[in-house]
């Protein structure tokens, strides 16, 4: 294939990765930014979203789009509820102590993974896409669903941005993020905000997972890579910066796609990872983070 189309393909693929990554990382960023909790179980919420999407879409017969839409609504709600319970039962009692929450979320990771293995099984299972339209370009074919993932993700990101910047909920969250003690003093129910943020973070991961299962499959160990990548995105983007998170996700997704055009794949991963690490070394607060605080 010629260079131009090859690059186009790599860029499209990179954008799909970016789209899903941005949503997942945004969830992590909220939890990380507002609660200062390093949620190691974030990838498992992602996995749970995918597994539930499979369960819901196979339970509903009829056109695949019905099952998929049901999954897109229900799976995040269920995951959010589970996250809320986990937050109430465990994280709150730990007073959100940074070290203790790491151990606790590692514990959650094991529990969720094991439950998925026991009840869902070790197999990778596919979910049918809501529609399967193959876009025919002069050089290659491309999945129409993948393009719709990019669009959906962009819409959701804009919606989240509006919620965070234009609504009272967003204001309350930002106030809590900025200084939880002062927020408390101003009558903001910090405790409930934390619960909500944790659930919301998990839900974003679950939505991302539902979007991705028609492309890749649900598998009980699928949570690790999104977790690691999300961490990287959140830090590169700068803590608590929504714009930074999205830019970093696009940057990492695209670089992952495009560098693979030029180098042997594993070498490409080595180079990409190293470069991103070096960015962080020389911009320790990320691309959009501020030095203070």
């Amino acid at each position: 294939m010629h260079f131009g189309p090859h690059l186009l393909l790599a860029a499209l693929e990179g954008l799909v990765t970016s789209a899903v990554l941005a949503l997942t990382a945004l969830g992590l960023s909220l939890v990380f930014g507002v609660m200062r909790v390093v949620n190691v179980a974030h990838g498992e919420f992602f996995m749970l979203g995918a597994v539930l999407a499979w369960a819901i879409s196979t339970a509903i017969s009829g056109h695949p789009a019905i099952g998929f839409l049901a999954a897109l609504v229900l799976a995040p709600l269920i995951v959010g509820a589970i996250a809320l319970v986990a937050e109430r039962l465990v994280l709150r009692r730990l007073n959100y102590n940074p070290e203790a929450t790491i151990v606790a979320t590692i514990g959650m990771l094991y529990i969720i993974q094991q439950l998925a293995l026991t009840f869902y099984g070790p197999e990778a299972r596919p979910v049918e896409p809501p529609f399967s339209y193959r876009i025919l370009l002069p050089w290659f074919g491309y999945s129409g669903y993948k393009l719709s993932v990019i669009a959906t993700s962009a819409l959701l990101l804009v919606a989240t941005w509006l919620v965070l910047t234009r609504t009272k909920i967003g204001l309350v969250m930002r106030a809590t993020q900025y200084d939880s003690e002062t927020a408390q003093a101003f009558g903001i129910p910090v405790d409930r905000v934390y619960g909500g943020v944790f659930a919301l973070g998990a839900m974003l991961a679950a939505i991302a997972a539902v979007l991705i299962v028609p492309i890749s499959q649900a598998h009980y160990l699928m949570g690790q890579d999104p977790l690691l990548l999300s961490f990287i995105v959140v830090i590169i983007g700068g803590l608590g910066s929504l714009r930074g998170t999205v830019v970093a996700a696009v940057l990492i997704g695209l670089s992952d796609g495009i560098i693979s055009v030029f180098f042997s794949p594993t070498l490409a991963k080595i180079i990409a990872t190293f470069l991103v690490a070096m960015v962080l070394v020389f911009r320790p607060h990320g691309l959009f983070g501020t030095a203070s605080r």
Partner: protein
């Protein structure tokens, strides 16, 4: 850490070493073998604790130091036919050098950025191992043949594959590192490390070059972890990339937090605890990870400072 009588802590640590020595003669074979492994990995945890517990730097990349030792020792035996002491030294050197380079870069960052940067460097290291599969055996790894794992001391030769020799070698390494750790922690340098953890800015204003001090701590920590990796390669004969994966960066953190960060014996307790929880529960049910997960959560709810950390807080304030 006040300069109280040093007798009690030293007595305790020597007692623990003596106990481990005595256990060698009474433990059933299986637990004998398992404990040898646990002691080697506890050294890994102690190395991690040096940086995380005492300096307060949370790294998610220590698997690279462990595997630097693992591959440094394993590959020199496998490809170059080096003898055991030389291979062990090569492992240490690899770990120390890597730690120096990583320290110089990563210490430009702090907090979560430090955590992510170390994680990414470790990921690079992991991928490099896979990339050079013709040398490293890639994901399958390599077996260090039994014949190569003999320690020749003058006219005597110790077969490291013999369970007793292996246990005693593991114990020797563990004891040396434990006593070194104790000595560092109780030294002036140890006091500076804790000061950096508590308030780096203030420590600078007391005349300390905190960057150099942290760099030394990274190198010491990395070297100890490499010692553990090198010992693992030589004592257990397998070198593989799974030891460089992120899982092996999380494990020492977990062991240390369980046992008690910034306690000298915590890493051993944490490693021991985690190993036996898995060993026992995997016998009852195939869903043992569920129990492990619940155990972790309960532990952190009721012993937030780790097992030994909580004991120190509640009863034994003098524990180092």
């Amino acid at each position: 850490m006040t300069e109280a009588s040093p007798a009690k802590p030293y007595a305790l640590h020597l007692g623990v070493i003596a106990l481990l020595f005595a256990l060698s003669f009474v433990l059933p074979d299986y637990h004998h073998g398992l404990l040898a492994r646990i002691m080697v990995l506890a050294v890994f945890a102690m190395g991690y604790n040096m940086l995380f517990g005492y300096v307060g730097l949370l790294s998610l990349g220590h698997a690279m130091f462990f595997s630097a030792g693992l591959y440094g020792a394993g590959l020199t035996v496998y490809h170059l036919g080096w003898n055991v002491p030389a291979a062990f030294a090569a492992g240490l050197a690899c770990g120390a050098l890597l730690a120096l380079v990583i320290g110089l870069l990563a210490l430009r960052t702090t907090g979560v950025a430090f955590m992510i940067v170390t994680m990414m460097f470790a990921q690079v290291f992991y991928l490099v191992i896979l990339y050079f599969a013709s040398w490293t055996g890639g994901d399958q790894g390599l077996v260090v043949q039994q014949a190569a794992r003999v320690l020749v001391l003058g006219s005597a030769s110790l077969d490291l594959t013999n369970p007793t020799v292996r246990y005693m070698s593991a114990l020797a390494l563990f004891s040396i590192v434990l006593l070194i750790t104790l000595a560092i922690v109780r030294s002036r340098y140890g006091r500076v490390l804790v000061a950096i953890r508590e308030n780096e800015e203030r420590t600078k204003m007391l005349g300390y070059d905190t960057f150099s001090n942290k760099l030394i701590a990274v190198v010491v920590s990395g070297t100890i972890c490499a010692a553990s990796g090198a010992a693992y390669a030589l004592l257990f004969g397998y070198v593989g990339s799974s030891f460089a994966s992120v899982q092996y960066s999380i494990l020492p953190l977990l062991w240390v937090l369980l046992g008690g960060a910034a306690t000298t014996l915590g890493p051993l307790i944490g490693t021991l605890f985690m190993y036996y929880v898995i060993d026992i529960t995997s016998g009852f049910t195939s869903a043992y990870l569920l129990i492990v997960g619940i155990a972790l959560i309960l532990l952190v709810l009721f012993f937030p400072k780790g097992i030994l950390g909580s004991i120190r807080q509640r009863w034994l304030g003098w524990l180092p």
